[in-house]
């Protein structure tokens, strides 16, 4: 039986000992299986025994390829999703951003605005309860973020697109601070950066409006919200939900058939938002999470078992080259695009983590000499709108004709009155929200022990 080894995303070689990353990902896979077994057996995950796992794991839609390797399997990229945030586009036109060249309805400025709305309402404090400001790219939530570089005249000369989860850097920092420091130096151009600049010396906590606190970064650990990643940035993803563990979690909770409140199995006639509200694997307001979940669930319905393919990662898949031209009507040659981390750009099998778009040296052009859909480029997010993201799964066809076990929906969603925004819930809706999918669960509190991987234990 072949031994499964988890390489680093995009086959990058950052870890001095690659086993460290493999071990982290292997633990993630074990954790997913434990949670799924718990949900099948209606048990608390802490009470799941090794015997339970040995008995139930082979029936699950999700494969832990390290503990229970399967022979063969085929690897495929799932359908890519648009990298421009769906929620931002859907909220346009943005009245707070009046029309300007390159952004008539305000969506491009809205996408680039910094803030901390990626966390529940509150403020960040340290262990001494001092308020700290840690704004990030809080609207770029489709597993890709970007940063602009401008010349002395303010012209846009480069845009850097990144799809690397911050938790990868957290793990790397745990093992090798120097490499993280060096990557920061390289990608920010600031040679004076030290590891301590990236550390949350006194921790980071979210203090909610009711006064309660939740740890975001442990004291002394790598701070994924450090501001060097924002300005001059960009090194890795910053939005709270843009993590590898979120991807793994989503793949996990989507790997099991779901039952509605009336006991019927969800096979057809459900859209991707509703499915995500049922499995609670992510944010239904994005393109990414509902579509990833739906495609993973389709594998289960089609009689496959799957796992996230090695190397697990989120990758910049492709660009709509045909939508962008120079203002003299020429298409961009491949020398405009540089894949800085990862490999396989523009092949259909891209595992690119970091991509740069800039005029070829010596061309005398800037990115503002480009037009996207006939509109002069003024904002980096006009170019981000050209890109798609994808991931890969490895799947195995079940030989017994079964589809595996099924478990009840974990929850449902409330919809904001007057808008399309969905909030996941266990059945209760706050004032100003109404239940969007009442048929998924019986009511508040009806979902005690079901598949919901609450938080990664290894990637933080």
């Amino acid at each position: 039986m072949a031994i499964w080894f988890f390489d680093a995303p995009g086959y990058v070689k950052d870890f001095p000992d690659p086993t460290d990353w493999h071990d982290a990902m292997a633990a993630e896979a074990r954790g997913i299986v434990r949670e799924l077994v718990a949900s099948v057996l209606r048990k608390d995950p802490d009470r799941v025994t090794n015997e339970d796992i040995i008995r139930e794991a082979p029936t699950l839609g999700y494969v832990d390829p390290v503990s229970t390797p399967e022979p063969g399997g085929d690897t495929l990229a799932i359908a890519p999703w648009g990298a421009f945030p769906r929620a931002v586009r859907r909220s346009g036109p943005w009245t707070e951003f009046p029309p300007v060249e390159g952004d008539a309805d305000g969506i491009h400025r809205a996408a680039e605005q910094l803030g901390d709305e990626d966390h529940r309402r509150g403020e960040f404090v340290d262990s001494k309860d001092d308020i700290i400001r840690l704004p990030v790219r809080h609207r770029q939530d489709e597993y890709m973020e970007w940063a602009a570089r401008r010349d002395a005249n303010g012209k846009l000369v480069k845009v850097i697109f990144v799809a690397e989860g911050y938790d990868y850097f957290s793990k790397l920092f745990e093992k090798d601070e120097k490499t993280v420091r060096d990557l920061y130096r390289e990608f920010t151009g600031k040679s004076g950066i030290e590891a301590d600049d990236l550390r949350a010396v006194n921790g980071v906590y979210r203090r909610f409006t009711d006064g309660s606190r939740q740890e975001v970064v442990a004291p002394g650990a790598f701070n994924p919200r450090n501001q060097l990643n924002i300005d001059p940035g960009i090194v890795h993803l910053s939005h709270r939900a843009n993590s590898l563990s979120a991807e793994v979690n989503l793949a996990g909770v989507s790997a099991i058939l779901r039952l509605k409140a009336d006991g019927t199995t969800i096979l057809d006639g459900i859209d991707s938002e509703e499915l995500l509200c049922c499995c609670q694997g992510g944010n239904p307001n994005r393109n990414s999470d509902p579509l990833i979940s739906a495609q993973a669930y389709t594998q289960v319905k089609s009689g496959y078992r799957y796992t996230l393919a090695n190397p697990v990662g989120l990758y910049i898949a492709s660009a709509d080259h045909h939508r962008v031209m120079t203002n003299t009507g020429e298409e961009l040659g491949p020398n405009w695009w540089t894949a800085v981390r990862g490999e396989g750009w523009d092949t259909g099998q891209s595992r690119v983590l970091r991509l740069e778009l800039a005029p070829p040296p010596g061309s005398g052009l800037t990115l503002e000499d480009l037009e996207v859909d006939g509109v002069p480029v003024r904002f980096a997010s006009q170019l981000a709108d050209l890109l798609q993201i994808h991931l890969f799964v490895t799947r195995w066809k079940r030989t017994d004709g079964s589809l595996g076990p099924s478990v009840p929906c974990t929850g449902t969603c409330c919809r904001k009155d007057g808008a399309q925004h969905l909030l996941t819930t266990d059945g209760a809706c706050a004032p100003g929200y109404s239940l969007a999918y009442p048929g998924l669960i019986d009511g508040p509190g009806a979902t005690a022990v079901v598949a919901k991987v609450s938080r990664s234990q290894t990637l933080r």
């Binding site: 990229a77 359908a79 890519p80 008539a104 709509d320 009507g329 399309q420």
Partner: protein, 472 residues
Amino acid sequence: MNGIDLEFEEIQGNVLAGFNTNIEVFIGLTAEPGKTRENAEWLASLAPHVTTVADIRELRQAMKPAAIGGYGAQITWLNLGIASTLLGSIREDLFVRDEAFTRGFRKRAPTALGDRTDFKTWRVGGASSLDALLIVASNDEAAAAQRAAELISAAESAGFACTYRETARRIRDLEHFGFRDGVSQPLVRGCHAGGTVGPGYFVFGYERERGEDVYLPAIDPSNFLRNGSFMVFRRLSQDVEIFRSFCRAKAAELGATVPGLSGPHLEALLVGRWPSGALASVDIGSDPGPDPNENAFDFSDDPSGYACPYGAHIRKVNPRAGPKDVVDIPRILRRGIPFGPPFDQDPSAERGLAFVSFQTSIRDQLEFLTSGWMNSPSRPAAAAGHDLLVGRSTRPRLMKIRRPHGEIDVSDDGAQWIIPTGGGYLFTPSRSALSRLLEPVAEGVKWRAEKLIAISIDKVHETLAMLAPSRG
């Protein structure tokens, strides 16, 4: 009905009801310099004459030819659209926040639609701007011609030049390649029986999704957009001989890997349907005939594209429950009609499709479907290949036929059977908005597009600085 009261007596009929007549005369008008006032006066004078949804509902039966129970002969209907430049010069209080509409068709077409033919060769909207478009519909060609002539004469007296006129004729609901057109249309909530798609996707002033606030991409203090819609007109020439001979030759070439593949079968796979409208499949080699449930499928049983290829036109523009890269599938109301004689009658004549669609966001609906999906080799499904039927690309185009044992590439070998020959982006106002076209604009709310759009780079930088929160 469904809690939505659409103002049918206001909304132009071609938007929600569709003319569906045998004859439609397209009249393209170009505004002469310095004649804005005359242009506007004449356009406003047409308000009582544009055909509304209510009119069509009342006269649909009467419009039918006498042979099938109608009175047909003397009835004509009118649909009118105004392009951004002319509209902006008349209504200075209106600022539309849809860059597709404001930039206009000719500017957007090369990238957002892939129409890169030399615009100077276009039949419409190229060398001469398309400032207003009239569509005169009838089931009687003489009546339509007479009405069109009257309108052109009046327009020319009001500072317009008629720079395009074309009579389109329905061919038993077929387009020129021989396939039924318009099989699948969104059913609009509040308008069509069983409608599920929100009217706000097609008409301004209504919700798009249930309970959602009204979508209004404009600064519009006089409520001019209400009950209006954006119209896209795209003139697409079709070369039937090239299309059919390509499919014949390619089918023969692929016969070794797809046994039994014929030219008509490959044509059907490119479309996604057979000429009868039945769903096409790699495994079924001939047209099974009309299917009464021709839209009762969602590709959920074909997630891998083994039966109907991902690149098939109908799957590209509506992936339904199959793989896709956005949650919200854009929908448009299509009102196209063929122009030119059927191929069998005169093979050497020019022919094609006068494509017309209605939507409230040109960028997010028609352009997304065209540029994001039809013209893309990798969307909406991974490795989808191009939409060889209609999609455009400057790179080699490939559609993939997926089989369990592997993929088969179908290259277009550089053949071009669709040739873009112009078009326009227009606004179709409501009847009352049209009548208010010359209503005085309060000085305080004049927007003048150049004030908003022609800002300096310094302003962009000011805006960017505002985006970043202060540090400290």
